[in-house]
Symmetry: C2
Subunit: 194 residues, 2 copies
DNA sequence: AAATGATGTTAAACTAGATTAACATTTACT
DNA sequence: AGTAAATGTTAATCTAGTTTAACATCATTT
């Protein structure tokens, strides 16, 4: 497996010596998942934080009525996990499922703790990554309360054009917190608006 | 100002030497805000990450119609900032305003960068803090999409009984993403349910 | 190319929650 | 104590988004 995109990503945040790079690579599992396979399953303890080398995943929560609620999509150069489950090593609230064949660089819980001890710079790396994710998450909360579904859809399309084209509409509706029927209505309104 | 609760909090996450403790304290501003004062204002670049020693704040976003949307409340032993603004040093989306007289331990942007360099353990501290905040934020997104307003209110009351009692109902309604009138209706239903 | 399953659309009836407006209660100030 | 301001309640009307159901389109397999 080609580890270059992963190492290049890391080096944007922290400069690793070649020794550290070797150590890091030795503790990471590079893994291929097929379309529809689960990287993380609700109820299991989440054992990994995953960097996506190629492919696409959805993170979703299945509610008591069996309805799927998509929390996020992840594509190349993004991370995916159930961080709440991972950091506390308790059962996951979320599923992470592949929407395409997906290659990931996987940090397991034990390996990551060891890596933090051996390469303290990685604390900085993950601090920065999680800070960004948290800031994005807070903005999303605001949007879900202060904007209409139509406005949220337009922002989504602008912000994630690559995802918009790769993912079926009914999943985008779920991400936006609306039904697929209503998204369909919004889209036909948008065509009419022009 | 009594710095004990702050140092005790830090030591729950990382063990500082007394030298590090002294250095840390020298780079922190302890500050008193009065009720209604702003710690952070929308539009300004956010210059601080704040640990609350005593008091209570609301973090909110004012939309184009002049409506307030509360993102979070913070009380003793919590943190508050506009992290998106802080890490990128761009204008803040959020306001942080004191709901009571509030004492904080303040990390400014420049000081925090220096502290990270001098006490690398702090990278670990903030990594862990932000991880928790992010996990909580993702759960909140799910709740806002998969639960009714009544269910969200009950969870809020359970999870944050201390805040529920300190904050007016109309702000709790804003946090829940509903109107004060509808929260009032929910409450009267709950009394009737018993 | 026919058949099956997955995805997307339309429209009618419905509901959770918003809006408006009038009133009640509590708090804080003089 | 009395008044004004802030907070909370109730009820009628309205609307963004849901539900249900029927149909349309597209992709995949045989």
């Amino acid at each position: 497996m080609d580890t270059t995109p992963f190492i290049e990503y890391i080096n944007k945040y922290v400069n690793l010596t070649s020794k550290e790079e070797t150590l890091l690579l030795s503790k990471i599992v590079f893994r291929n998942y097929l379309k529809d396979q689960y990287i993380i399953q609700q109820g299991d303890v989440c054992k990994s934080v995953n960097f996506i080398i190629s492919g696409c995943t959805k993170t979703f929560y299945m509610d008591l009525e069996g309805q799927e609620h998509i929390v996020m999509f992840s594509i190349e150069d993004w991370w995916t996990s159930d961080l709440g489950s991972f950091i506390t090593q308790t059962p996951a609230d979320f599923n992470v499922q592949c929407l395409e064949n997906t290659k990931v660089a996987q940090f397991t819980f034990d390996n990551l703790e060891k890596l933090y001890a051996e390469i303290p710079k990685l604390e900085r790396l993950f601090r920065m990554i999680v800070e960004r994710a948290f800031a994005a998450s807070q903005k999303r909360i605001i949007r879900s309360f202060s904007l209409t579904a139509k406005e949220r859809y337009l922002i989504f399309r602008e912000a994630y054009p690559k995802i918009d084209q790769r993912v079926p509409q009914y999943m985008i509706a779920s991400y936006l917190g609306i039904t697929k029927e209503f998204l369909s209505k919004i889209k036909s309104q948008l065509i009419y608006d022009q």
